[in-house]
Amino acid sequence: WCLPLKSIFVTFPGDILKNRTDTELADDYLRRFGYMNVQHRSGLEPSMSKSKALKMLQQQLGLEETGELDQPTVTAMKQPRCGVPDIRN
């Protein structure tokens, strides 16, 4: 009984929130709340723009500005929030 349980994830019918990877979550979050759009408009490379976008997000949320998709940033992205974008283009 002390063996770790092996969880099986299933797709629940009617579930709007799908099981997404952290990267998918971050991409969607940065786009939805305006961070990526701003970067696209500046014409930077996509890889560069995501790092910049993450830094902007981390600054907005008072997190350490690493520009990386670290655990505190992922955790913050999973918090309930208002749907109004943080950054407007």
């Binding site: 099986i8 009617g14 099981n19 907005q60 913050a76 999973k78 309930p80 929030r81 749907g83």
Partner: protein, 564 residues
């Protein structure tokens, strides 16, 4: 703080709002009240006023919806996005939308208002004991008609106070049936239904017919969620079914198995593998008041703040005792300016007194019962008073710079301007009491206290001068205890004031719930009336007798004010 580009704002201060529909999670009056309080957050610090419209187009149209709800920004199911709102302007601008896949509460779990029974609409008290068993949800135990009920005090056997819980057998909301209960079975498009259904709708709301044949009568309403109902999934509104089977295992309680996000869920039939019917288990939910106050900030022209403690910070966090952050105040006052001070005193009474014979009567500043401000302002329309207290044997009810009196013959008089009777006082009074020995009146507002002896006033003084801690934001309630003592309530504690020495007695503070058992620890007003102690939360009161037993829970409006 931030404002929207171009400092979008309303070009008028008398803002209107309209509530287009309701969530099944809470009773309509509780939702109305949450929205009204959310608007008040902003009207308290600006010149803005908010008037509710019941039809037509309002500046701020408020609605609940799920997923794709008619604008380009769909919601995303439970959690994640909670709500959104548009900055001021025409059309959809200024509107606020709330995701009804969330579980809307006041932030601390299901808010279950009762109907009928003998508790006069009081909220359920969870847990409560019935015949030796403790219940944390409404139950149909003890009844043969299937109506869920709850006790409104902790012990049904002792107090015998109960009411019926929201269910489709009791009432519906919205629709076209004026709240009539569902009729089962009913016929819809030739099919017979024995329970609420989402058939025929794309928005997932459960409905029922309120006559036995919808096809013929076209009468319908939406079903309120029971407190045990699941949230979202594909069975919104259905109760969990325990035990249930999932991937061959049997579950007797909600589980997060099968999910990567750790959320608790349950099946709504006995076999998930076969029926695939499920939903999320009820949790503390999100405070509709807090989320609405944030969204209304957008609707008035505020964008997201970067100050984590500010209301306009984009992430939700529950706070028990909300007060607007200075960052929010500065933001909204940047757009609309500060709230103007007390209304100027008119030069003569003629301006406020319609009685012709008194038009030439010189105004006197010593009167303690000035002419009513506007008799059409009805105390019965006030949902929540700033404070209620007994002065010269008459109940005084204060609200926004005005007060009403309830005479010993139970007549309501007023409103009167607080500033005419007690000119030194601010418009909001948190609590007050009369020291019966000296006839001095003590008024508390924020961190300040005023003492009136007749028309002379001492103060304001800070609460610390009385020996109250610097962390105490306000005195919520005050009870005159005789012999020169008064109890002062704040937060979850209370202190005993020695009125003679103007100091707090040793041994205080004490915890409210250790001495006053069964009353809300977050009461916003405490007062004495006819030998009982009343603890108020919103428009409800908990009445405690001399033996410190809660012997009644009810409405201030109906029971104390005798409103029709």
């Amino acid at each position: 703080y931030q404002t929207f580009a171009g400092d979008l704002k309303w070009d008028h201060n008398d803002i209107t709002y309209r509530i287009l529909n309701y969530s099944p999670d809470m009773e309509g009056s509780v939702i109305d009240d949450a929205f009204a309080r959310a608007f008040k957050v902003w009207s308290e610090v600006t010149p803005l006023t908010f008037t509710r419209l019941y039809d037509g187009t309002a500046d701020i149209m408020v609605s609940f919806g799920r997923a794709d709800h008619g604008d380009p920004y769909p919601f995303d199911g439970k959690d994640g996005l909670l709500a959104h709102a548009y900055p001021p302007g025409e059309g959809v601008q200024g509107d606020a939308h709330f995701d009804d896949d969330e579980f809307w509460t006041l932030g601390k779990g299901p808010v279950v208002k009762t109907y009928y029974g003998n508790a006069e609409g009081a909220l359920c008290q969870f847990p409560f004991v019935f015949e030796g068993k403790s219940y944390s949800t409404c139950t149909t135990e003890g009844r043969s008609d299937g109506l869920p009920w709850c006790a409104t005090t902790a012990d049904y056997g002792r107090d015998k106070k109960y009411g019926f819980c929201p269910s489709e057998l009791l009432y519906t909301f919205d629709g076209n049936s004026d709240g009539a209960a569902c009729v089962f079975p009913f016929v819809f498009l030739g099919e017979t239904y024995n329970s609420c259904t989402t058939e025929g709708r794309s928005d997932g709301y459960r409905w029922c017919a309120t006559t036995k044949n919808f096809d013929q009568d076209k009468k319908y309403g939406f079903c309120p969620n029971r407190d045990t109902a699941v949230i979202g999934g594909n069975s919104e509104g259905e109760p969990c079914q325990f035990p249930f089977k999932f991937l061959g295992d049997t579950y007797d309680s909600c589980t997060s198995e099968g999910r990567g996000d750790g959320k608790l869920w349950c099946a709504t039939t006995g076999d998930y593998d076969r029926d695939q019917k499920w939903g999320f288990c009820p949790d503390k939910g999100y405070s509709l008041f807090l989320v609405a106050a944030h969204e209304f900030g957008h609707a008035l022209g505020l964008d997201h703040s970067t100050v984590q403690e500010a209301l306009m910070f984009p992430m939700y966090s529950y706070v028990e005792r909300f007060s607007l952050h200075q960052d929010d105040i500065e933001g909204i006052q940047y757009l609309y300016g500060p709230k103007p001070g007390p209304d100027p005193v008119p030069p003569t009474r003629a301006a406020t007194d319609p009685t012709p014979t008194e038009k030439t009567t010189p105004r006197t500043t010593t009167t303690t019962t000035p002419a009513p401000v506007d008799p059409s302002l009805d105390a019965c329309r006030v949902d929540k008073f700033d404070t209620i207290t007994l002065i010269q044997q008459e109940l005084h009810l204060f609200k926004d710079g005005q007060y009403w009196k309830v005479t010993q013959k139970n007549e309501i008089k007023g409103p009167y301007r607080t500033s005419e009777t007690w000119p030194a006082l601010p418009s909001t009074i948190d609590s007050a009491f009369e020291d019966l020995l000296t006839k001095k009146l003590y008024f508390f507002s924020g961190r300040r206290v005023w003492v009136y002896t007749g028309s002379s006033v001492l103060g304001p003084r800070s609460l610390e001068k009385l020996g109250l801690p610097g962390s105490l934001e306000r005195v919520e309630g005050a009870l005159e205890r005789g012999k020169g003592k008064a109890l002062l309530f704040g937060g979850e504690k209370y202190w005993r004031l020695d009125v003679k020495t103007q100091t707090i007695d040793k041994g205080y503070p004490r915890e409210v719930d250790e001495v006053f058992v069964g009353v809300p620890i977050d009461a916003h007003d405490v007062f004495l009336y006819k030998g009982h102690t009343y603890f108020c939360r919103e428009h409800f009161y908990w009445r405690m007798n001399a033996r410190r037993q809660v012997d009644r829970v009810g409405y201030i409006k109906y029971d104390v004010l005798k409103c029709p």
